[in-house]
C-alpha cells in the first residue's frame, strides 16, 4: 500500500498507528486479546467448577498466604504503570526514557515470575502435586497459563530491548513496543482476576 506518512515534522504523535502496518497490528492485536479473554474465561470456569474437588488433598485455605500474593500483585500492578510511562515517553520521542522504563518493567516481571516459581515449589513441598486432585490440576493450569504468558512477554520485551538498543524510536519499532505494553496490561488484568477469584476467594472461603 502506498500510504505516506508525513515525517518532515518529526515523530508523529501516535507513532504506533502512523503507518498502515502499525494500524493493522493495532487492530489485530486487540482482536487477539479479545480471543484471549474467552480462552482465559474457559480456564477460570474450569477452576471455579473444580475448586472444591480436593479429593482429600490440601485445600485452598491451607495453602494460600496473603502476604505473598499481595506482594506479587503490587509488583505486577507497578510494572503495568511503568510500561504506561514508557509508552508515554515513546510518543514524545524520548527514547532513553522509554528504554529505562521498559527495562524496569522487565525486571519487575522477572521478580514476579521468581515469586510465582517460589510459590509453586512451596505448594509442591506441601503436598499439592499437579495430579493430586482436580483442584490442584485446575489451579496449576490456570495460574501456570498466566505464568507462561508472563514468560512469553518477558522474552518478547527482552528481544525488543536488545534489538533496538541503539535504534531510537522508529515507525517500525514503535508498534512493537506498543503491542507489548498492551499485552502486558492484559496480563495484569488477568492477574487481577486471579488474585481475586483464586487467592482471595480461596482464603475467604465461600
Amino acid at each position: 500500500m502506498s500510504e505516506t506518512v508525513d515525517v518532515s515534522k518529526g515523530l508523529p504523535a501516535h507513532p504506533e498507528r502512523a503507518t498502515l502496518e502499525g494500524k493493522n497490528k493495532f487492530v489485530g492485536f486487540w482482536v487477539f486479546l479479545s480471543g484471549e479473554v474467552t480462552m482465559f474465561a474457559t480456564f477460570f470456569g474450569t477452576y471455579l467448577g473444580l475448586r472444591n474437588g480436593t479429593a482429600g488433598g490440601p485445600e485452598a485455605a491451607d495453602l494460600f498466604h496473603m502476604p505473598l500474593v499481595f506482594i506479587m500483585t503490587m509488583i505486577l500492578l507497578t510494572s503495568s504503570l511503568t510500561s504506561v510511562i514508557a509508552i508515554t515517553a515513546m510518543k514524545k520521542n524520548q527514547f532513553k526514557k522509554m528504554k529505562l522504563w521498559m527495562w524496569i518493567t522487565f525486571f519487575l516481571g522477572v521478580a514476579f515470575l521468581g515469586f510465582e516459581i517460589y510459590e509453586f515449589v512451596e505448594y509442591v513441598h506441601y503436598g499439592l502435586g499437579f495430579s493430586t486432585s482436580a483442584f490442584a490440576s485446575s489451579f496449576y493450569s490456570l495460574v501456570g497459563l498466566h505464568g507462561a504468558h508472563v514468560v512469553f512477554g518477558l522474552g518478547w520485551v527482552l528481544l525488543l530491548l536488545i534489538r533496538y538498543n541503539r535504534a531510537g524510536i522508529t515507525l517500525t519499532n514503535a508498534p512493537k513496543f506498543y503491542m507489548f505494553s498492551l499485552y502486558w496490561h492484559f496480563i495484569d488484568v488477568v492477574w487481577v482476576f486471579i488474585f481475586t477469584v483464586v487467592y482471595l476467594m480461596g482464603i475467604g472461603g465461600g
Partner: protein, 114 residues
C-alpha cells in the same frame, strides 16, 4: 518514496496542545494507578478482616476486580480514546461471551457429590 521506516527521529511532531494533553493524560493515569492500589488494599482487607459474611465479601471483591478491569482497559490501555471503536467492539464481545462460559462451568456441571 522516502519511507523513513527504520530511522529514528530528531524531534517529536507533537504540537504544544498535544503535549499538554499527554501531560494531563499521564496525571490521570497516575490517579488511576492510585485507585488500583487502593482497590487492591480494600480487597485484601475485606478478606483478611473476616468481619463480613463470605457471600458478601466475595461479591464485593469481584465487584472491585471489575472496577480494576475497567481502569486497566480504559485508562492504561486507552480504550476510551478515539479510533478504538473496533477494539471496544471485540473486547466487549469477548467479555460478554465469556459470561455464559463461566456461569455454565460453575453452575451446570451436573450433581456434584464431594
Amino acid at each position: 518514496m522516502a519511507d523513513h521506516l527504520s530511522e529514528p527521529f530528531e524531534k517529536s511532531a507533537m504540537t504544544n496542545e498535544e503535549k499538554v494533553k499527554t501531560e494531563r493524560e499521564m496525571r490521570i493515569q497516575f490517579i488511576a494507578f492510585a485507585f488500583m492500589i487502593a482497590l487492591t488494599f480494600l480487597a485484601f482487607i475485606a478478606v483478611g478482616a473476616e468481619v463480613a459474611p463470605p457471600g458478601f465479601v466475595i461479591s464485593f471483591i469481584i465487584f472491585l476486580a471489575f472496577i480494576q478491569l475497567f481502569l486497566q482497559l480504559y485508562y492504561f490501555m486507552h480504550l476510551k480514546d478515539k479510533d478504538h471503536g473496533w477494539a471496544n467492539t471485540f473486547m466487549v464481545s469477548g467479555l460478554v461471551l465469556s459470561i455464559p462460559t463461566i456461569v455454565a462451568l460453575i453452575l451446570i456441571i451436573g450433581v456434584v457429590k464431594y
